[in-house]
Structure formats: structure tokens, C-alpha cells
């Protein structure tokens, strides 16, 4: 068992929970970016602190170029979204 568990593409946008836009839901649930090169993805430190990490990793070389806690990244992102909403 590996200490880290791959949790798929990062940054997939989950539609608004109440949304009935089926195309958006289909895309969220089934369609993936699958680049040969830099890829933003989620890893859980499942054999340790259990936190999810947002990792930028090259799928050709496996070189990791950035790592951040997903929760912090997500909170910063949603704060940004809210901020924008407030301004507009």
C-alpha cells in the first residue's frame, strides 16, 4: 500500500449542487484532462496526515514542480470567487 493516494485531476469544477445542467455534470463526473506533460492533480497523504495536496507533476518525467494543501488552495480560490462576486 502506497503512502499517497492519487485522487485525480485537480481543478475540475463541480457544478452548483442544485444545477440541472446535465452537460456540466457529465463533464464533471466523466471527462478528464489527460495531458502528456504538466498536470495539476490531487494526491491524498492517505498513509499519513490524510490531507489532500494539489500537485503539479509532469506525466512524462514524473518531476513535481509544485505542491500545496488542497484545502488552503481551495479556500483561497473560493474566497477569490466570493470577493469577485462582492465587487460585481
Amino acid at each position: 500500500m502506497s503512502e499517497f493516494t492519487y485522487q485525480g485531476e485537480a481543478g475540475r469544477q463541480r457544478p452548483d449542487p442544485a444545477s440541472t445542467d446535465r452537460a456540466a455534470w457529465d463533464a464533471y463526473v466523466y471527462d478528464r484532462l489527460n495531458p502528456a506533460g504538466e498536470h495539476n492533480e490531487l494526491w491524498q497523504h492517505s498513509g499519513g496526515c490524510r490531507a489532500h495536496l494539489v500537485v503539479t507533476r509532469n506525466t512524462l518525467t514524473h518531476v513535481i514542480s509544485s505542491v500545496a494543501f488542497a484545502r488552503e488552495a481551495g479556500r483561497a480560490h473560493s474566497a477569490g470567487r466570493r470577493g469577485k462576486g462582492a465587487r460585481s
Binding site: M1, Y30, R32, L33, A36, T59
Partner: protein, 447 residues
């Protein structure tokens, strides 16, 4: 010489049939048989011709198949053989068969759970059973049986459900008791102190193994002999389009046009489809490692899988134990994996065969899998006009090679799927009509 013949004399009965067959079809010298082998041996093996030509690409074909792996070559072969479409090019970025057809654990079976899967893979198995004759190339399909070990009563019921599903589709499946398994698979940790005692096993006697490279070479030679151009070292760098319509490919060896372009590049699907402007697909690319031990005298005589983990093992004719386990479980296009999976697979191996701890791992390699969102493949028209897509094979591509090529050729030739590949559309995900053998949903690493 005579003594050697005596030891291997069984090949003689075949020779007359091959000879008669060749005379009837009036094919030239290239026909392989025991007789041609002998004649050439006496001539110092100087007269063997290339197994396939190395043609320059023509400007235009009726069909281009992108991908010179097992599936692409089989597609070209069946286009020519079944549909009379011979003005076909197979373009391959590297050497022929450099993808997963030469990087798998060579298992052939049709022991699936869901009816759509059983029908497709059984069609494939039937093609396998006559493939060496069909191709005039010995792909060494050895129907030594495929045995899934069950370790709990609940798992036994699951396996029997699958066996029954197969039987209701006319496919062979048998249940073996631990005692029968013990006789069939010596060295296996059956019970007693075993942490995961064997409670039984589902056997598909017609399953087995084949020589993986021979499948690529046999299809290549068969397609070539029917006029297909196989163009190696010809990497697709883009698609030619007329509006939405795909009209050909740009390659490192120039532009090539065609009325129809089939994509059969499992492992590189995301990369190639991106060139056609399709960024997102229900696929992730993962690496699956495979392993071979040092060569041993015959040790295991069937294909065996371990139900309390994820392990499948057989022995090649050369004597190496060929085995594998889970995918590494992350997106990658690098044909290499990492240590945790190596250790997991070896741990399961010695749990199953405690005597093998002293045997040594000789080689490991990785192949890139198109892991789809339900664990089943996609063989379909589209998603763009003029394009046909064959991908999403997960672990299961090798055994599917004949049926994949056969049904993809049908789809390309007739512009509609055959009954056996009709369920394997792209839009099944959106419709919720998934074919989910493992019941894991849209998490590719779990399939």
C-alpha cells in the same frame, strides 16, 4: 538430425495440410510451414524475406489507421480480409508493436461478468482459437486454462455468479474445489496456515496465454500480404481537416490523406486526440507494470489469479514466470512504474507460492493504459466526422486484440458498429449506460 526430429516429430503431420493450403491459394514462398522452415534451414536461412514491407507512404489512402500496435494492425488486417478494403495505411510513431501489445502479461480469456463484456471477449476468444491458421503465423495461443482463486465464501459466490453468467452465454466455466486446485497448481498455498485459504476457483479451460509480439508481427505480416502499407517511424503530428471533418494526418513523413481515419493508440489516446482538438475524454492514462522471473523448468501450468489481492501469473514457454498486479494508480505517460507496486506484487506472489521467495525477478517494464471511467473500452465512430476511435482498454487490451480489430474494421467499413461493439460508445457515460465490471464508478484507478 533424425534424433531431433524424433523428439519434435509432431510438427510433421501439419506440413501436408499447410502445403495443400498454400497450393490452393497460390501464395508465394512467404508461406510459413515446417517444410519451408526445413528447406530454409538447409539453405542456411538465407532466403527468408522480410515479414512485412517497409513502404514509403502514399499521398492518399481509403483508410488510415493511426497506431501500429495489436489493435491497429488487427483492424487493418480485418479491413482487408473481411471488407476488401486494402488501400489502407497503418502509421506507427516508433517500431511496430512498441506499445502495449509487447508489454502485457499475454493472458487471453473471456471470463467476464456482464453480458456485453462476455459477448465481446468471447468473440475475441473464438478468433484467437483459429488465429495462427488465419494469419499463417504461430501466435502460440496456449489454452492452458485461466483459474481465478477465491478466498472467502462471498468471493466464491461472486466468482460463481460470473461463471454462471458465462455459462448462460454459452461460454465455458467450471468450479474447482481446493483439492482439485491443489493437484493442478503445485506449490500453491491452499489452506492450513495460509492467511487467505483457497475456498475454490473459477476455471475457464479455454483461456490461456499467447506470444504477445507474435500477435503484432502476425497481423502485420497478414495485413501486408493483403496490400496494407505499414509505415513505421511515422509519428502523427496533427490532423488534416476540412471544417470539422478529419481528412488525414500530418506526420513526420509528410501529409497523408484518407476518407476515414481510425485511431487505435491506447496509451497515447489523450495525447493524440488533443491534436484533433479533443482535450477531455473519459480516460486517464496510467502505468501498469509487468514482471518476468528468471527462466525455470515448468512450474505452473495454467494462468492463476489471486483473489485476496491483485495478482495474475503464468509461465512463458521459455520458462519465465510472467506476472503483474495493480496499476501504479496515477496519470502518466512514462513507461515505467515505481517501487510500492513492485513490492506489493512480489508480496502477493510469495503469499500465493511461498516456494518462489528464492526465485528471482529478472525484468520489469511498464505499459501505459487508457483507464476509462467504467473499466470498459470505447470502439466507436467519431467523436469527429471522418474519425473513428478505439481506446479505453484498461488492462484488457491484449486478449481483445482480435475482436477489437475485427469490430473496429466493421465500424469503419460500414459506418455503424457491429452488435458486439455497439455498447462501447462514448456517450454511454452520459446516458448512465456504463459497463462497470467492478462496480467502482468514475474512478479510473479502481478499475
Amino acid at each position: 538430425m533424425r534424433k531431433a526430429m524424433a523428439e519434435y516429430s509432431p510438427w510433421w503431420p501439419g506440413a501436408p495440410y499447410r502445403l495443400a493450403h498454400r497450393m490452393k491459394r497460390n501464395v508465394p514462398m512467404a508461406e510459413y510451414s515446417a517444410l519451408s522452415l526445413l528447406r530454409n534451414a538447409l539453405g542456411g536461412n538465407r532466403d527468408w524475406a522480410p515479414a512485412w514491407r517497409k513502404p514509403e507512404p502514399k499521398p492518399t489512402y481509403d483508410v488510415i489507421i493511426v497506431g501500429g500496435g495489436g489493435h491497429g494492425l488487427a483492424t487493418a488486417y480485418y479491413l482487408a480480409k473481411e471488407h476488401g478494403i486494402t488501400n489502407v495505411a497503418v502509421v506507427e510513431k516508433g517500431y511496430l508493436g512498441s506499445g502495449n501489445v509487447g508489454r502485457n502479461t499475454t493472458i487471453v480469456r473471456s471470463n467476464y461478468l456482464l453480458p456485453d463484456s462476455i459477448r465481446f471477449y468471447e468473440h475475441s476468444l473464438k478468433l484467437w482459437e483459429n488465429l495462427s491458421h488465419d494469419l499463417n503465423y504461430n501466435v502460440m495461443f496456449s489454452q492452458r486454462g485461466m483459474l481465478n482463486l477465491a478466498h472467502t465464501p462471498g468471493q466464491a459466490d461472486d466468482f460463481i455468479r460470473r461463471g454462471n453468467a458465462m455459462r448462460h452465454e454459452g461460454v465455458d466455466a467450471e468450479w474447482l474445489t481446493p483439492a482439485e486446485i491443489g493437484r493442478m497448481v503445485p506449490g500453491l498455498a491452499i489452506g492450513g496456515s495460509a492467511r487467505f485459504p483457497v475456498v475454490g476457483g473459477l476455471m475457464q479451460p479455454r483461456g490461456g496465454t499467447a506470444r504477445h509480439d507474435a500477435v503484432a508481427w502476425g497481423y502485420a505480416r497478414g495485413a501486408d500480404r493483403r496490400g496494407v502499407d505499414i509505415i513505421e517511424n511515422c509519428e502523427v503530428t496533427g490532423f488534416l481537416r476540412d471544417g470539422d471533418r478529419i481528412t488525414g494526418v500530418m506526420t513526420t513523413r509528410g501529409e497523408i490523406r484518407a476518407g476515414k481515419v481510425g485511431i487505435a493508440v491506447a496509451g497515447s489516446t489523450g495525447h493524440v486526440m488533443k491534436m484533433a482538438g479533443v482535450e477531455r475524454l473519459p480516460i486517464e492514462s496510467h502505468v501498469l507494470q509487468a514482471f518476468v522471473s528468471e527462466s525455470l523448468k515448468p512450474f505452473i501450468h495454467t494462468v492463476v489469479t489471486f483473489g485476496a489481492g491483485h495478482l495474475y501469473i503464468s509461465q512463458s514457454d521459455k520458462g519465465g514466470l510472467v506476472f503483474g498486479g495493480d496499476i501504479d494508480g496515477y496519470n502518466t505517460y512514462a513507461q515505467r512504474g515505481n517501487l510500492p507496486v513492485v513490492e506489493e506484487v512480489m508480496s502477493e506472489m510469495v503469499a500465493l507460492f511461498p516456494g518462489l521467495a528464492r526465485v528471482r525477478l529478472l525484468r520489469s517494464w511498464g505499459g501505459i493504459m487508457d483507464m476509462s471511467m467504467d473499466g470498459s473500452p470505447i470502439i466507436t465512430r467519431g467523436p469527429l466526422p471522418g474519425m473513428y476511435l478505439n481506446c479505453g482498454w484498461c488492462y484488457g487490451g491484449f486478449k481483445a486484440t482480435p475482436a477489437s480489430g475485427w469490430s473496429f474494421a466493421w465500424t469503419i467499413a460500414k459506418d455503424e458498429p457491429h452488435r458486439i461493439n455497439a455498447p462501447y460508445t462514448l456517450d454511454r457515460f452520459h446516458r448512465g449506460a456504463v459497463i462497470d465490471e467492478k462496480g467502482q464508478g468514475a474512478t479510473p484507478r479502481l478499475h
